[in-house]
Symmetry: C2
Subunit: 491 residues, 2 copies
């Protein structure tokens, strides 16, 4: 394990050290009960004062990630972060080969197998245009088999970029094909932005909570992630402004429409404020748009990119969720100077998307079939949202609350304070039901009592069964908790 | 532009600064004639002494990358690195948005359009099994259209990994499917290894010269690249041993069979020595194998990975060149502890290859068709190699030499000392013929008088015409040079 400290950063060293350990503990790299290095040893290795190490350990203890046992040492807390059993024999190797992996919570929680999968915000295969894509492939290989023998352009196939540009113009984002870079899904989009613009000690601002895999990526560049709370209008601009008094962020990462995981929408007013703030603070905005087309009631506000007159906004869209995971395509839109750097990073990363997949999805945009598909997906997912709310209203114990999703794939559920959804998840695993524990969504100041439930990936029967069962388990869990604590029930 | 300095590194600060500038100048980011910051300003920004900056500038001047004009300042040399015209208006933005892109020479030279393309070591589309792949796709979408709606496993499709494991066993690499990670081509393979194991100040050892895109990737992690000369037996083990007296490298990057760009083969004896050396120096080996199956005379020595009893070797293979660029698939093989980290890095990078492409190439391995295809490719490229040698023998001016390729796609040609193949390339562009200037292949201590010619991507007619024309242009270039210098001809 390697800890990179940036002594020029505005982030205190103690906090950098805290973050490095927190990441790895939460990613399951240090099994519960494993011993941390001594204060003296760590201070020597990192060339900091022992006081700094003690401050870092204080922060870890406050977050209940470590516990200090007098006379014995300091240990990772014995709780179910769900350590990976197969890693325990790897411990020796872990410490011998220093690596630059900070945080891979996404991978950790992705591995949870389940019969009823509420943890992945993906669309049930039945809802995807598989037959249309299959048809597209058939015609493609008959008509143009030679594409299999060609490398695509690094920036992405020009025909696809033309079709995407047309699509974006329909979304009020006025671009041409040269403003677009095709990526391997939206994951790679975030990764390329991070590679280009973030390094050790740089600061990224996100919503609180936010998308776990994005936290992973930013941390893997050694950046510090500072999160800003939200309310019903999305990211709090007053809090963001106050943050700018102390810090100089490089990048603001936002998921403004049906925010992942909460579902909040950043209001039109706040989008304008965000643009002005970021520009005056010389800060880039990365606007991540996984599913703005999947609105259930009214269509959402204009994309931030549609109002980007300063040229500081990078727009990111993934097509895997709404079209075809098998093809794994996303794209970035940015002004020329920024996009050229992203293309350079893409070149280093993999020299361009495979051409085959780009040609496969091309007809769906060229024929405007995409609009019909999105309309159908909206209708189907709206029904699932309605059913989810109905079931929760019917079966959830009191003390449990949620945010009504106005679009997207997820619902953010809050349990009473003092609960821990990771513990709940281990009970749920016995029923083979999974969800995403909310703690994975916090870069810091972790809150333990939330969970994200994706209703997009299950059939109606599974939804019905799954939510009933989950509510039962929650009820039992809350009961057991209050008995354990000898307290009057929390509700 | 951001320069990251590692003050704990064994590499002197002046050299780190030199490298940062050299990378960007050679990548065309600083147009010819653009002015460098003053010594005082740079010293202040980087928090180093002015003497250190002057040392860095001395190194740049010695490499003819900058020139100091008394009373005016220090400028990028006025020579044809071939600055990108579209970048010049971007200069202001370039300096305003700091980025972490060190070196993208691969991208730069990839952009050279040409009627006769000797610069890309790829296979002419006619030589690829396009029809077989087209057939495979047809059957795939009829039989299993649902794969379009599925995310593949992050590590790669299990069926493909099983087929690849069988293939590797045939190559004497005893592995099982869990030892394999499927990547987006070999480019991503190098990138993932770099992300995992390299950071600012770490040292990578390569052959000298080596594959340009690999240098780009290592530099983009802030690593220092130290290269070791070769002879007819490949990387010089005596030089490598001596290097270990001074430095503690993290990784040795080698292309042992038909080395890119020289074509040299690392002998069996030296492969064993390399394994022992690396193990005792606690150093990883990244073995890059683009085309070992494409041998013209005798089959090459065993893969280094086949002899890896310590578990320190990471084996990398790309399938794009020999099978299908359109699918862009490669894979890494490593022992468990190392592979788990690579999988975590892959998760952050893009969460796994698209499933479609993996299923497309699967039958080619399952049916053992791959062996027949490689045999045909061997025969065809051997003919092109023979033709290339014949043409060079017939038309090349004296003073021009080359290394006889025993396999692979390239030939490494050396011009007389004092020539510069970048200048030659600009003359060749007028004939719409391209090649890769050798200077792109040197991390440092650049040699200017070589070029790499790929004979794999042209028809026989193009090969014949192209080499004749190139030899003519070389002749004219050498003549013009010696006239310019008022010297007796160099030959």
């Amino acid at each position: 394990m390697k800890i990179e400290l940036n002594r020029q950063s505005q982030i205190p060293l103690a906090q950098q050290i805290f973050q490095a350990f927190a990441d790895r503990i939460l990613s399951g790299y240090f099994p519960s009960g494993s011993r941390l290095p001594s204060v003296r040893k760590l201070a020597r290795t990192l060339q900091v004062s022992p006081v700094t190490v003690i401050q870092a350990f204080d922060l870890l203890e406050k977050q209940q990630l470590i516990e200090r046992i007098q006379g014995k040492g300091t240990f990772v807390t014995n709780r179910s972060f769900g350590e990976k059993e197969e890693e325990s024999k790897e411990e020796k190797t872990l410490l011998q080969i220093p690596d630059y992996l900070h945080r891979t919570q996404q991978m950790y929680y992705n591995q949870t197998p389940a019969r009823i999968n509420f943890s992945s915000p993906i669309v049930h295969p039945d809802l995807l245009p598989t037959n249309i894509l299959a048809e597209s492939i058939q015609q493609l290989v008959q008509r143009e088999p030679e594409i299999l023998a060609q490398y695509g352009e690094i920036q992405g196939d020009i025909e696809l970029r033309q079709a995407l540009a047309t699509y974006l113009v329909g979304e009020e984002i006025k671009v041409s094909p040269q403003d677009i870079l095709v990526t391997n899904g939206s994951q790679q989009g975030i990764d390329l932005v991070a590679r280009c613009f973030l390094g050790p000690g740089d600061i990224v601002v996100t919503e609180q909570p936010t998308y776990p895999a994005a936290i992973d990526i930013f941390r893997s560049r050694g950046a510090t992630v500072i999160s800003v709370p939200m309310d019903e209008e999305g990211m709090r601009m007053d809090k963001l402004t106050a943050l700018f008094d102390t810090y100089n962020p490089k990048l603001i990462y936002t998921i403004p429409t049906f925010q992942n995981p909460t579902g909040y929408i950043l209001s039109q007013k706040r989008r304008r404020e965000l643009i002005e703030l970021a520009y005056h603070m010389n800060c880039l905005i990365l606007e991540d748009d996984p599913w703005s087309e999947i609105y259930f009631d009214e269509s959402p506000p204009l994309h931030i990119k549609a109002m980007d007159h300063y040229g500081n906004v990078i727009y990111l869209k993934g097509l895997s969720k709404i079209l075809s995971p098998g093809c794994r395509i996303g794209f970035l839109v940015a002004s020329e100077g920024i996009l050229n750097r992203l293309i350079a990073a893409k070149t280093n990363a993999d020299m361009g998307n495979p051409l085959l997949n780009q040609k496969v999805i091309l007809p769906i945009f060229q024929t405007k079939l995409i609009n019909r598909l999105l309309k159908e997906l909206r209708e189907t997912l709206k029904q699932k949202r309605n059913m989810t709310i109905h079931l929760l209203n019917k079966h959830a114990p009191s003390g449990v609350s949620w945010i009504l999703p106005k679009g997207g794939f997820n619902i953010w559920i809050t349990l009473p304070k003092g609960t821990n959804s990771i513990d709940l998840l281990s009970f749920m695993k016995q029923k083979e039901i999974s969800f995403l524990p909310g703690s994975a969504c916090y870069p810091s100041e972790i809150e333990w009592n939330h969970l994200r439930l994706s209703f997009s990936n299950v059939s109606e029967n599974e939804l019905s069964y799954g939510i009933k069962e989950m509510c039962l388990v929650i009820r039992e869990y809350l009961h057991a908790l209050h008995q354990q604590r000898g307290q009057t029930p929390l509700f």
